[in-house]
């Protein structure tokens, strides 16, 4: 079976081996055959030269970071010199010098890299250089409920190859339940590092075991009201969905695939002159054109690569900028209905949107509540609305809605005895309405402090009467409010936090858990900075000590965030 040369090499090797080393080889080979089901029994002494590996991570909500950290610890245990570093900290020029290089990276947005990995991602994509010395393995975190599953991981894996690097471990994709797969994969990685082989893997992908736990529910809209009073600049919908069988926890969010609005679809149909009930294939399912266009295909704000494909189909030069399909069809029309069917095949599926649940399964039995801000933006002077938030704002009562529950490992309500500080301006208030309702229903003993803010006290104080009731019954211990536009100078939650710095820090030192929810920019960033500043000043620490203290809070889940 082995050729001459290999046999000679093999015998030569065996001859040099001690008894221990032989047992190790035996174990190793067994391990290698049984795809890593047993831990390699490596011991430092066993290896002549200690291997080095750089383990990097690109994370948004912290899963990749946690995994990468576990990996690094594991590697060290078996005597491998592992360096752990976040991709936004990584010195790009080091790539050329790397030997073994492992990347754990998630996919965000609509198939985009995490913000912290953007710099790195762009760097490796601007070709023009090679990294032949690099031996890499990529673990991709993702979520099968998104059409572009593990897109970023795939791209990074492929791009390294393009740059002449050696794929020493196969690309592993993971769904939300990633622990087992990820660890098995890393065990293999460790073995491979310990047995420098010359062979380089051709692009192989270990597909994720699609988790079966995620289930689609159908609920009925019971209430849909705009929480903002007339005169407000905002439109925030409180939506109550009845679904008896629904199973979720406070802190989870709800996933919805919105429908495209019928007017736009009808206009597209007339422009391309296609029969709405014609049956076509879309993502391996066949359905009518009208159904695909309303319920399945994403026709809003097309991705750049979709535009490229479109250009190819109609064989025209098209500026590669994101744009709605309708506008594209108007400027660069398709030849005929047939060509349009081709176009349909290149469209991505409509990505789901998440909404943090504003209700408690205990306090609001059989119901799921959402707090949805109608997303408004302008394109060359034209007022436009976000697809899903608009879709939801228009839902009439008694209509049915399909959704799934999105668990969140890093955003959970802690045990009843713990004090909690909830910072949730705007729609960030949603999970905290759930938290307090649940703590009220279960008679939790921990103290609850809410920081809320919006534009105007009189029109934008979401759930005011509920907060008042909880405050009067003592469930809500403290509430600090910031209404930015009720006075000349803008006042935001972080200003209230600074005013309360002393007490806030006392709560934290006392073991209070800090939660932050709402929009990432600029609010999330500003609040995080403020927290670190408070830790620094109140705990008279240095910049670094404060930063470390905060990092520790994050790692120990004493600080949890739900930012978007």
């Amino acid at each position: 079976m082995l050729n001459e040369i290999k046999i000679q090499q093999w015998n030569a090797l065996i001859a040099t081996l001690s008894k221990d080393e032989l047992t190790w080889v035996h174990g190793y080979i067994a391990g290698k055959l049984s795809i890593g089901t047993i831990e390699p029994t490596v011991t430092a002494s066993a290896i002549n030269t200690t291997q080095k590996v750089t383990i990097t991570y690109g994370t948004e909500t912290g899963n990749s970071k946690k995994l990468a950290a576990d990996f690094a610890a594991k590697a060290k245990k078996v005597g491998i010199n592992a360096k752990l570093i976040s991709l936004d900290q990584y010195r790009l020029t080091d790539l050329a010098k790397e030997d073994y290089f492992v990347t754990v990276i998630s996919t965000q947005g609509d198939g985009e890299p995490p913000i912290a990995a953007k710099k790195f991602y762009d760097h490796i994509h601007q070709n023009g250089f090679t990294i032949p010395k690099l031996k890499y393995g990529v673990l991709a975190l993702g979520d099968t409920s998104y059409p572009l599953f593990c897109k970023t991981g795939e791209e990074v894996d492929a791009q390294f190859e393009k740059l002449g690097a050696t794929r020493f471990a196969p690309l592993q994709k993971c769904d939300l339940e990633y622990e087992t797969e990820a660890n098995e994969w890393f065990n293999k990685v460790l073995q491979l590092i310990n047995t420098p082989t010359v062979e380089t893997l051709v692009a192989t992908v270990l597909p994720a075991k699609k988790i079966t736990t995620k289930k689609t529910y159908t609920g009925t809209i019971a209430t849909n009201i705009n929480l903002n009073a007339s005169g407000s600049n905002k439109q925030t919908h409180h939506i109550e969905i009845i679904a008896d069988d629904v199973d979720y926890e406070c802190g989870n969010s709800l996933g919805i695939v919105p429908e495209n609005d019928l007017e736009t679809v009808t206009e597209i149909l007339t422009i391309v002159g296609i029969n709405r009930s014609k049956i076509i294939a879309f993502k391996k399912e066949s359905d009518t054109v009208i159904n695909v266009l309303t319920k399945k295909a994403n026709i809003a704000y097309l991705q750049e690569n979709t535009i490229k494909k479109y250009a190819a189909i109609i064989q025209q030069e098209i500026p590669i900028v994101r744009i709605d399909l309708l506008d594209l069809l108007k400027i660069y029309p398709v030849k005929d209905a047939e060509q349009f069917i081709e176009v349909l095949s290149i469209l991505n599926a409509i990505p789901p949107r998440l909404y943090t649940i504003a209700s408690s399964p205990i306090a609001h039995n059989g119901e799921v509540h959402l707090t949805v801000a109608k997303d408004v933006f302008e394109i060359d002077g034209l007022r436009k609305f976000g697809l899903c938030s608009r879709f939801l704002s228009l839902q009439k009562t008694n209509t049915q809605l399909n959704f799934f529950i999105q668990p969140n490992k890093r955003f959970k309500l802690v045990e009843p005895t713990k004090d909690i500080i909830m910072i949730g301006p705007g729609t960030g208030v949603a999970p905290f309405r759930a938290f307090v309702a649940e703590r009220d229903a279960t008679g939790a003993s921990g103290r609850n402090w809410l920081f809320f803010g919006d534009q105007h006290f009189t029109t934008d104080f979401s759930y005011q009467t509920e907060w008042q009731n909880w405050f009067s019954t003592g469930v809500l211990t403290k509430i600090s409010l910031a209404f930015s536009r009720d006075q000349e100078e803008k006042i935001y939650v972080q200003h209230r936090m600074l005013e309360q710095a002393k007490e806030l820090y006392e709560w934290i030192e006392n073991g209070a858990i800090v939660y932050l929810a709402g929009t990432k920019n600029p609010m999330g960033k500003d609040v995080e900075h403020t927290l670190v500043q408070i830790i620094k000043e109140q705990g008279n620490k240095t910049e670094d000590e404060a930063a470390q203290y905060f990092e520790k809070m994050k790692d120990e889940l004493r600080y949890m965030e739900d930012l978007y």
Binding site: L227, T458, S462, Q464, T465, S480
Partner: protein, 554 residues
């Protein structure tokens, strides 16, 4: 002495308020609500403010999980209703910045701003304080804004009499510094050294109102006040005042123990010292004898009737240390504002505007507010409010008249003023909806339109030039003094009013309830009948009010 047993709730609030401070500071800190704490409601009034909420929005906001839209109405203390042009300019800007923007001239010669959010109260009062205006005791169980005959043309010695309004207001101010501490951030001084010999620690049993009239015009409705002073003038010299006690209008639907009452003239005082002493002691008697268990029966009018006029007078004289002289003969001939340009005895000019229900604002191309701001900015006229919710641009020297006139013309005010019907310029309505919590029906938002319709009927009977006094309120409290009108419309429920007739034109005879719970159609129907009878049966100069009484319609 007053029944100490079962004091009304408000009495306890006053007693434990530490000089009207209560928990107001804490209330201001309660960011979760736009309201103040329960017990502080009553105390806010002593500081000139009422907590209100926009009743039109209650249902909508409840559905949106929003609390009521609480805001505050602030009523200023402006004795005799006189302000400088600078003060008017300030009020105009404050109103624009912190309130609904509407400046409401009240039936007691002051102004109110509505819709002030809790956080804006301090800025509002501080801005007013910069222009030397305050809201102290504009409401509450104390002496309210002192009303006084406002038109300088009423007497050569008008200024001398008008000065009493301020003297009395000062004399009867509470001594507590609470207002300055809470709203103007003044250093807190020991409560102990603010003993208040007049109000002690529980103030009066109820609100108290003083009015001063200069015959023959009774536009202040002097007899509707708890205490009325009627100036006695002989050849341009002030002899003193007739003193009348126990006026008050409010009645409660279905509560026979409550009734409107005109003040009884009990005597005369000649010197200023005696007059002020008498005024002061009327309050102390009311303080000590007034009903403190039932607020509906706590006004001076009930104290007087309970004690009997003579007993009350004796008690008063003992406290004064002198007896009152017999009242002098007085003749009232009118109860109206002198609209348009009038020249007084110092050759100063005065321009009186009719301001419908006292609402100063710019609406449907009648830019009254802007016009008045422009006049004020010219600095050429003082602003005098009348008890009919009107305004006198006053004390204009001959050489400035043209300027003021040109501004008024520029804004088309003079022309618009000249086109108003007689009924309209003799009309008043109270605030009522949407801000007044006690309103049962519309008033100032409705009367203007109703008058359009009544005018047609009057014209039909060729009565359009009669100066018939018509007043409407949204409830029986009588804020626009409907019981002292020839035609009084008192709201009983949404769209329904009791019709009162038979009041005289000079305010010395109250009207009587004629018909109950009338909707618009019935109101117009009844008036049509009454007007035709009046047209046919009236004697030469007989007023509508007198006619209805003579012919025993009531």
């Amino acid at each position: 002495m007053s029944e100490k047993q079962n004091l009304s709730a408000v009495e306890y609030i006053k007693l434990k308020s530490h000089g009207l401070r209560g928990t107001l500071l804490e209330s201001l800190q309660d960011a979760i609500t736009g309201a103040v704490r329960e017990d502080d409601h009553a105390l806010m009034k002593f500081h000139g403010m009422y907590e209100q909420d926009n009743r039109d929005l209650r249902a909508e906001r409840a559905e949106k999980k929003l609390d009521k839209l609480y805001s505050f109405m602030v009523r200023m203390r402006i004795p005799g209703g006189l302000v400088t042009p600078q003060q008017w300019v300030a009020a105009n800007h404050i109103a624009g910045k912190y309130s609904t923007g509407v400046i409401k001239i009240t039936t007691r010669q002051t102004i109110q701003l509505h819709g002030i959010l809790k956080n804006n109260i301090k800025p509002t009062l501080q801005s007013f304080s910069k222009t030397a205006l305050d809201a102290i005791a504009a409401c509450g169980d104390v002496n309210r804004n002192v009303a006084c005959a406002s038109h300088p043309h009423q007497s050569a010695i008008h200024a001398q009499i008008h000065a009493y309004a301020d003297k009395i207001s000062q004399l009867l101010l509470p001594k507590t510094r609470a207002y300055y501490e809470i709203w103007l951030d003044e250093e807190k001084i020991e409560e102990l050294n603010e003993v208040d010999p007049l109000y002690k620690d529980s103030y009066l049993p109820r609100k108290f109102k003083v009015g001063i009239a200069i015959p023959p015009n009774n536009e202040v409705d002097v007899l509707t006040n708890d205490l009325g002073l009627i100036a006695i003038i002989e050849n341009d010299e002030l002899k003193g005042f007739n003193i009348a006690i126990g006026g008050g209008l409010s009645a409660t639907h279905g509560n026979a123990n409550t009734y409107p009452r005109l003040a009884t003239v009990i005597g005369f005082t000649d010197t200023e010292e005696k007059t002020l002493k008498a005024v002061y002691e009327v309050l102390t008697v009311q303080r000590d004898f007034g009903n403190r268990s039932d607020r509906k029966l706590a006004r001076l009018k009930y104290t007087v009737d309970k004690m009997g006029v003579e007993v009350f007078k004796k008690e008063l004289e003992t406290r004064c240390g002198f007896t009152l002289e017999a009242p002098k003969k007085v003749l009232f001939t009118a109860r109206k504002d002198e609209y348009g340009w009038v020249k007084d005895y110092q050759n100063k000019w005065h321009y009186t505007l009719f301001i419908e229900n006292g609402r100063v604002t710019d609406e449907n191309d009648y830019n009254l507010k802007s016009a008045l701001l422009a006049v004020a900015q010219s600095g050429k006229a003082n602003y005098r409010f009348t008890s009919n919710q009107n305004l006198i641009l006053s004390d204009i020297v001959e050489t400035d008249k043209a300027t003021v006139e040109s501004i008024l013309t520029e804004f088309d005010i003079i022309n618009k003023q000249s086109n108003l019907s007689s009924l309209r310029v003799n009309s008043m309505a109270c605030v009522a909806l949407p801000t007044c919590p006690l309103a049962l029906a519309e008033a100032q938002r409705y009367l203007p339109a109703l008058i359009d319709k009544i005018d047609i009927i009057l014209a039909k009977h060729e009565l359009q030039n009669e100066d018939i006094i018509i007043r409407m309120t949204g409830c029986p409290n009588g804020c626009a003094r409907p019981y002292a009108a020839e035609i009084g419309l008192v709201g009983t429920s949404s769209g329904q009013y009791n019709l009162h007739i038979g009041g005289d034109r000079i305010g010395t005879r109250l009207n009587t309830k004629y018909k109950e719970h009338l909707n618009e159609a019935s109101i117009l129907g009844e008036l049509n009948t009454l007007f035709s009878l009046y047209k046919k049966g009236k004697k030469a100069t007989e007023t509508f009010g007198d006619f209805t009484v003579r012919t025993q319609l009531v």
